[in-house]
Amino acid sequence: MSKHDPKLLLQSAPLLRQGMTTPAAMRDVWIALLPASLAALWYFGLAALLVLLTSIAGAVLTEWLFTPRERRAITLHDNSAALTGLLLGLTLPPALPLWMAFLGGMASIGLGKIIWGGLGSNIFNPALVGRAFLLATFPNAMTTWTAQSGPADFLTLHASNLALPFMQAPTVGAGTDAMTTATPLNLMKFEHQGTDLGALLLGNTSGSLGETSALLLILGGIYLFLRRGLDWRIPLGILGSAALFSAALFLIEGDKYPTPLFSLLSGGMLLGAIFMATDPVTSPVTPKGAWLFAIGVGLLVVLIRVFGGFPEGMMYAILLMNAATPLIDRYTQPRAFGRKRATK
């Protein structure tokens, strides 16, 4: 113990850490999404795997390309880019041309994240930016839903999956039409036709890869909740407000509007409420803000689904509330201890 030896470290207190790290939080989301992803493979076969892999590849590659060299090591290591790719993939239709899935991954990370300054700086949910981009760019391909293939013909691929980059799916018209079906939401919106709740729970309906099985999504949500990986207020607030709003409509005119339960279990409602609206980066940090955000999403979803042009409204509802998040945060600052009112 001589005078300058050992050279001690000077770190600002506190020295202790809780132990949870950001990459681990992201890993938890991966684990929570595993059941739903496996269900996608079960229901949609190899096509699902390929779509998921290409969208992940598009996201990760873009992240790598556009991150300054000195930060690359840690951005890829934090699992978030790949998670964005996976979540994007889970919102895509199974027969989407793979090149579009790849482009979607690129748009997610490029427009949704890198431009803003990378992890933590973006205002909009990157996966949904990617999806909104794809939907606006290729509305036809993005609203072509195929029937489930089932595990028996796991290996069959849709011709449209393999369309050449920048080209349309080779079989337009008759070929694809034969396979296309309507999603439960399409049926509801345009035919006023319900879907069996059992099918919605298990997931043997058509729809995007990850949204079909309500049960497995809820399972993932419970896991995340137990791991403290999500803010429980958000799913609760969304589902609650959406249920109330649609119950009110249902009571007013039952044969025109869906039942609340149908609203909650169909389409991207659960995938969005549990995994996407809860993206910490793009939702309010304050508890009161989280409630406001969630209620906003819940109301907007029902508004768009019932009165708007689109059968599905989850993506737009979340993106719109993402845009309002800075304002919500600003006006819901917690009341500091010993202070009368929260100042803005």
Partner: protein, 221 residues
């Protein structure tokens, strides 16, 4: 910094200010009226041609037309004045017999207001043609309401009694049914709704068969 005047500029008299504004107004009025008069003929002609084309498109076998106006009680010949929502066109065949009316109607579409002109024969409750005058529907989807010939021909012979309905593409079976466009159900429905509204509005106003307005002169305008 090119204007470095050592003193702030002097204030001119108010009359000079007003005067220069008036002079500018006067000159600009002159120029504008000049260009207006110079282009007036071509423009009127363009417009008339366009209109005639549209009317002829929605009314088959029509060779002459004239502009009419509903004045609150009856339909009368319109000589001049601005077109408004009570303006309509009557189409006549070679022999000067009334072949139908071309009616304009509008309403909200998927994006923005859609304006259509449709041919209507009140005698047999039929729509005989449809032409989109104005729309901002999505290119590639909603714009099929005028780009997709299959959709447009739906309206070539369509019964309006009972009102027109949209059905899923390929399931059209009755005379009042229209095949929706896949991927643009909403725009398709909007067109149908707009036409239904137009029919509802005009059906009562149009003169009964036999009372139709006669073709004046040689079908001007």
């Amino acid at each position: 910094m090119s204007s470095r005047s050592p003193t702030p500029p002097q204030e001119p008299t108010p009359s000079r200010l007003v005067g220069s504004l008036a002079v500018a107004g006067f000159l600009s009025g002159l120029i504008i009226i000049g260009i207006y008069v110079a282009t007036l003929d071509t423009i009127t002609e363009n417009k008339a041609r366009e209109l005639r084309e549209a009317v002829f498109r929605v009314l088959p076998e029509v060779t002459q037309m004239q502009k009419l106006q509903y004045d609150g009680e009856r339909v009368v010949l319109k000589e001049n004045g601005k077109d408004d929502e009570n303006t309509l066109y009557a189409g006549y065949d070679d022999k000067g017999n009334l072949a139908g009316y071309a009616l304009a109607s509008d309403g909200p579409g998927f994006q923005d207001t859609i304006r259509v002109l449709f041919g209507y024969q009140p005698a047999n409750n039929k729509v005989v043609g449809m032409w989109v005058l104005e729309s901002r529907e999505t290119p590639g989807l909603g714009d099929k309401i005028y780009k997709d010939a299959a959709f447009v021909t739906n309206f070539d012979n369509l019964s309006t009694e009972p009102p027109i309905v949209t059905v899923k593409r390929g399931t059209r079976s009755r005379a009042n049914e229209v095949d929706a466009i896949t991927g643009a159900t909403i725009s398709s429905k909007a067109v149908v709704r707009i036409i239904n509204q137009g029919v509802e509005k005009w059906h009562q106003r149009l003169p009964l068969p036999g009372n139709e307005p006669q073709l004046k002169s040689e079908g001007r305008t």
